[in-house]
């Protein structure tokens, strides 16, 4: 048996050990990413084989929490894919306007960059005051950062450029305050955001959403887990509610496809069908 097949067994055992010991289920994550992150962590922590790691992970909670952080690293940026935010403005906002109160679920918000982006769009479109945004992630450390809304000046530079491309109607500088070499997002953007822990692997729907925003989260799941997460979204959305995925994520390969019609194929914005 070749070495990478042996490693494959070792990773199965590691994920099983993590699940049974700590309840975190990475068994249904996209395998190539988990393998890559396991190898990176292994060489960083000085292990030769994945199986060397298993007893340590089982008995050493600190090592485990480092590993979980490493598994759940998420890289995001403000107004990532500016054309998507433009499409939200042009094709989603007009329909949200017809709602008395707008409920948005940002699933897998990571460190919050895209939640603030969405908040800015809704604010500029005059919808923010009657909106509630539920921003969730399973990683508490990420949620803490999201809640704080403090970012590096470099993040803000890129954000400013993207904001303009996304059709921003104001000066981006009005949305943050510089302090101690970092920037903090304006508190008013946070007023309608509720940050909460939610795990798409294990937790269930929470309901009556008009927009579910979940970009570049499903790519880290395998197909079964993608189907599960999409079922949770479908259950959470009202009829005619919108689902916005990452630009390279597609319903095409999932069981959820029949529940949605495409609003914007490039921006991956879908609309939940009514009873058919």
């Amino acid at each position: 048996m070749r070495i990478s097949n042996i490693e494959n067994i070792e990773i199965d055992l590691l994920l099983e050990a993590i699940y049974r010991r700590y309840g975190y289920d990475f068994r249904s994550y996209a395998r190539a990413s988990i393998e890559r992150r396991t190898r990176q962590f292994m060489s960083h922590a000085g292990f030769t084989y994945v199986s060397d790691m298993i007893p340590r992970v089982l008995h050493d909670e600190d090592l485990f929490s480092q590993l979980v952080q490493h598994f759940s690293v998420s890289v995001t940026e403000m107004f990532r894919d500016p054309f998507v935010y433009r499409a939200v403005r042009e094709e989603v906002v007009p329909l949200l306007r017809t709602r008395h109160h707008v409920k948005v679920w940002h699933a897998g918000c990571a460190t919050g960059e895209e939640v603030y982006s969405l908040a800015i769009v809704l604010r500029e479109e005059g919808l923010y005051d009657r909106t509630t945004i539920y921003a969730t992630d399973f990683n508490d450390l990420s949620l803490e950062k999201a809640r704080a809304g403090i970012y590096s000046p470099e993040t803000i530079q890129d954000a400013t450029r993207n904001y303009q491309k996304a059709g921003g109607g104001s000066s981006f500088g009005t949305y943050y305050h510089s302090q101690y070499g970092a920037v903090r997002m304006d508190g008013r953007l946070r007023e309608k955001i509720t940050f909460a822990n939610h795990n798409l692997v294990t937790d269930s729907a929470f309901g009556e959403m008009h927009l579910v925003f979940c970009r570049n989260v499903l790519i880290y799941f395998n197909r079964e887990l993608q189907d599960r997460a999409l079922r949770v979204f479908t259950e959470s959305l009202v009829q005619g509610g919108f689902l916005c995925l990452g630009t390279k994520e597609d319903l095409r390969f999932t069981k959820a496809a029949s529940h949605y019609e495409t609003v914007n194929g490039q921006a991956k914005i879908f609309k939940k069908k009514g009873f058919t």
């Binding site: 048996m1 990478s4 190539a32 499903l218 390279k248």
Partner: protein, 218 residues
């Protein structure tokens, strides 16, 4: 290491997938290689080029026009099919999975690059093992060299464009220094050898040490 292609009689065959990586100066080279491959090419090809973040598939469309093979930018979980070229989308890493689909990720840049050649080569090496043919062409940074090491250690074949034919020599040179490549060739020869390596057993090379029964074959 072989420096030329001349109906190599020791050539092996039956390889299962091809990965190609390049950056600066690689567009012409990739076009030259891919346009020589026939419509009935028997395995999938994964291409990683350092694209600008704003590329929305223009490079793939260009290749699709100039090649007989179908060239697409895959979505996440896209099944990998033979005779199809998958170009890593700008701003995503592309990883072939063991189950025959493509996974994308937005993980940190590697070698200042996303997509990174190392990331794709690494997961391809684990997914295809000794059934992988990896090609590095012109490029201006060292991305791909680490990936080549993994390809070699998993038993795959390493092919590098000869630096004197490359517009940017840094990438091929780094790959050559990182591993002892199986072949260092000019682009036209790369196409010929790749074709032979992926030919089904008994139709391409004369090798007999890679029978389908080999337990290490996937």
């Amino acid at each position: 290491m072989r420096m030329s292609f001349d109906q190599d009689t020791t050539l092996q065959s039956g390889y299962k997938a091809v990965v190609v990586g390049g950056s600066a100066g690689s567009t012409v080279v990739m076009e030259e290689i891919l346009s020589q491959l026939g419509r009935d090419f028997p395995v999938p090809i994964l291409v990683v080029q350092h694209l600008h973040e704003s590329d929305d598939g223009g490079f793939a469309e260009h290749l699709d026009r100039t090649c007989q093979l179908r060239v697409i930018v895959p979505c996440d979980k896209q099944p990998v099919e033979k005779g199809c070229v998958y170009v890593a989308p700008a701003n995503y890493h592309m990883m072939p999975e063991r189950n025959g689909t493509i996974a994308l990720s937005v993980d940190e840049k590697v070698n200042w690059s996303r997509p990174s050649i190392d990331v794709t080569f690494d997961s391809a090496a684990h997914a295809y093992g000794n059934g992988l043919v990896a090609v590095i062409v012109s490029g201006a940074n060292k991305d791909g060299a680490e990936g080549m090491k993994t390809v070699k250690s998993c038993g795959g074949i390493a092919i590098v464009q000869s630096p004197d034919t490359a517009e940017s020599q840094v990438m091929p040179q780094a790959a050559i220094e990182a591993v002892n490549p199986d072949y260092i060739l000019k682009p036209a020869d790369i196409a010929k050898i790749v074709t032979q390596l992926v030919a089904p057993h008994g139709q391409g090379g004369l090798s007999n040490d890679r029978t389908p029964e080999d337990p290490d074959r996937r």
